[in-house]
Symmetry: C3
Subunit: 215 residues, 3 copies
C-alpha cells in the first residue's frame, strides 16, 4: 500500500503500531495455547507464528494477493518471535497478569487486523462480500488455525461475539467507504470498545444446538 | 470456461443448476454440523460457507487456478448463505425431513462438483492424475475441511463409499474423454445412482485396522 | 532447478534418491496413521499422499512458488502410491519390522526434504528466515497435516527433537552457504545422524506446561 500525503502517512504509522500490538497479542495467545497443550519450545514458536500470521496468509490466498511478501516484514516477524519467547520465559505470576490484560490487547489486534484486511481487499478492487470476508479472516483466521493445530474446536466460532466486529469493520470500509485517517481511527476505537463490551458482558450471538446424529 | 455452441451452453446451464443444488446441500450440511457442535450463528455461517466452497478453493490452489474468482460468483455465495440461514431457522421437524432427503441432494452435489472439478483440470491441461485428484478434492474437500473445523475426523475418509465416485468422474472425464453434454449427463446420473446405492446398501471400501502405537 | 556441471548433476541424482526414500517413508507413515484411525483404503491413500506432499505444497504456497508442478512429478506420485498400497497389504509381522526401521527412513526423508526446501527458497532469493521456515515446513509440514487430518495433535511439535534439525538445515544453507554437492551430502549425513540420536536417546526440547484455562 503506497500512500503519499502526510496525513495518510500518519495514518499508516498509527496502524503499523496497532498491527504491532495485535501481532504481540496474537503471538502470545498462540504461545499460551501451545504451552497448555504441552508442546515443546519449537511447537510454541510455530503455534505463536501461525496465530500471528495465519489469518493474513489465508486472506491473501483467498483474495489472490501474494503470500511471500510476508517474509519481508522482518519487523513483524521479529516482534512476534520476541513476544513468544517472552511468554515462554515469563514467571507464572506475570502470565496471570497478562491473561487479565490479554482481552484488551487481543481486541486491539482484532480491530487492527480486520481494518488492515479490509483495506487490502479494497485496494484489490474486490466486491463487498470479499472485503467483509477478508476483514473477518484477517481478524479471526489466525485464532482458528491455532485452535485446529492444538486439537481444539475454534473458539472464535463459539464464544462471545468476536468475528462480528471484524465483519463490521469490513462493512464500514467496503460499503460505507470509511477511508480517511480519522474515520479509520474512530472505526478502530468503536471495534475495540464493542469487543471489550462483549467480553465484559459476555454478549453472545444467537445459537441453536442440535443433538449429534453420528459418531 | 467459455463455450460457444448451443448444445454446450445448454450443458453449462444444466450443470449450473446441479452445482447450485450441490451448493445448497453442502452449505446445509456444514450448517447442521456447526449447530451440532454448538457454534453460534456466525460459526454456522462460516462452517456452511467452508463446506460449500472449501473443496473448490483447495482444488484451485493445487492446480494453480486463481482462487479470487470465487468472489464474483454472487449467485452461488448468496445461495449458500440462504441455505445456511434457512437451516438455522428451520423447525426441528423439518430438519428431520431434510436429513432423510439430505443424502440425495448431497449426492447431486458430489456428482456436480466432481464433474466441475474434472472439467476445470482438463481445461488447465493437467495430466490424468491431477484431473482425478481435482475431481475428488472438489467433491470431498469441503466436507473434509468442515469436519476438521468441527474437531471431527473427516467422515468421507471412513464412511460408506464416497470419494471413489468423485474419482470415477475424474477418470471418465480425464481418461475416457467424456465431454459432450449427453455423455456428461449420463455420467452425472451414474454417479448419483451409485452414491445413493452405496448409502442404501452401506457399501464400504476395504479397510484394515491397526492398533494405535502412540498417544 | 537447472544444473549444468557434471558434479551438480550427480548432486541432483543423489538427492533425487534421498527424496524418493523420504517420499516412501512419509507416505508409509501417513498410511499407517490412517489404518490406526480406521480409515478405509481411500482414506489411507489420501492421508499417505498428504503426508508425502503436504509439506512441499504448504511451503510453495508460503514462498510463492507454483504448486501445480506437483502433478508433473509422476515418479514421486507413483512411488508414494506404491508405498501406500504395500503398507495396506503388508502382513502384520512385516509392519512391525517396518516400524523398527521407520525412524531411519523417516530421518532420511526429513533431511532430504529439509535440504530440498531450503535450496528451493534460496533459488527464490528469499531472506534467511524464509529459507529456514521453508526447510522446516518441507520437513515437518506433511506430518503436521497428517496428524490434523487424523484428529491428532501434531506429533512433531511435542515429541523428540525433530523440527530443529530441519531448521538447522535451513540455517546451514541460507546462512552458512552450504551449496556444493559434498557440503550438502555432509549436511545430509549430519541431520540424519542427529535425528537418529534424538530418537535413540529421547532428546527433547525444553517445554513448559501450563494448565488449560478454558474448555
Amino acid at each position: 500500500i503506497r500512500r503519499n500525503s502526510e496525513a495518510e502517512s500518519l495514518d499508516w504509522d498509527v496502524f503499523q503500531l496497532f498491527s504491532l500490538i495485535g501481532t504481540i497479542a496474537f503471538a502470545a495467545s498462540g504461545a499460551i495455547v501451545a504451552m497448555e497443550e504441552d508442546y515443546d519450545i519449537l511447537g510454541v514458536i510455530v503455534l505463536g507464528l501461525v496465530t500471528a500470521f495465519g489469518g493474513g496468509v489465508v486472506r491473501n490466498l483467498l483474495i489472490g494477493a501474494p503470500v511471500a511478501t510476508l517474509w519481508n516484514e522482518s519487523l513483524f516477524l521479529n516482534t512476534a518471535l520476541g513476544s513468544i519467547i517472552v511468554m515462554f520465559l515469563l514467571p507464572m505470576k506475570w502470565i496471570h497478569h497478562w491473561k487479565r490484560a490479554e482481552a484488551f490487547f487481543d481486541a486491539i489486534g482484532l480491530a487492527a487486523f480486520a481494518i488492515q484486511g479490509a483495506l487490502y481487499a479494497v485496494e484489490a478492487n474486490l466486491p463487498i462480500n470479499a472485503v467483509m470476508v477478508a476483514a473477518m479472516l484477517t481478524g479471526i483466521g489466525g485464532g482458528m488455525i491455532r485452535d485446529m493445530m492444538a486439537g481444539r474446536k475454534p473458539l472464535v466460532l463459539r464464544d462471545e461475539i468476536y468475528a462480528v466486529w471484524a465483519l463490521a469493520a469490513g462493512f464500514a470500509i467496503g460499503m460505507v467507504n470509511v477511508r480517511s485517517t480519522w474515520e479509520l481511527l474512530i472505526l478502530f476505537g468503536i471495534i475495540v470498545t464493542f469487543r471489550m463490551l462483549s467480553v465484559h458482558y459476555k454478549w453472545k450471538l444467537p445459537r441453536r444446538a442440535l443433538r449429534k446424529h453420528r459418531g
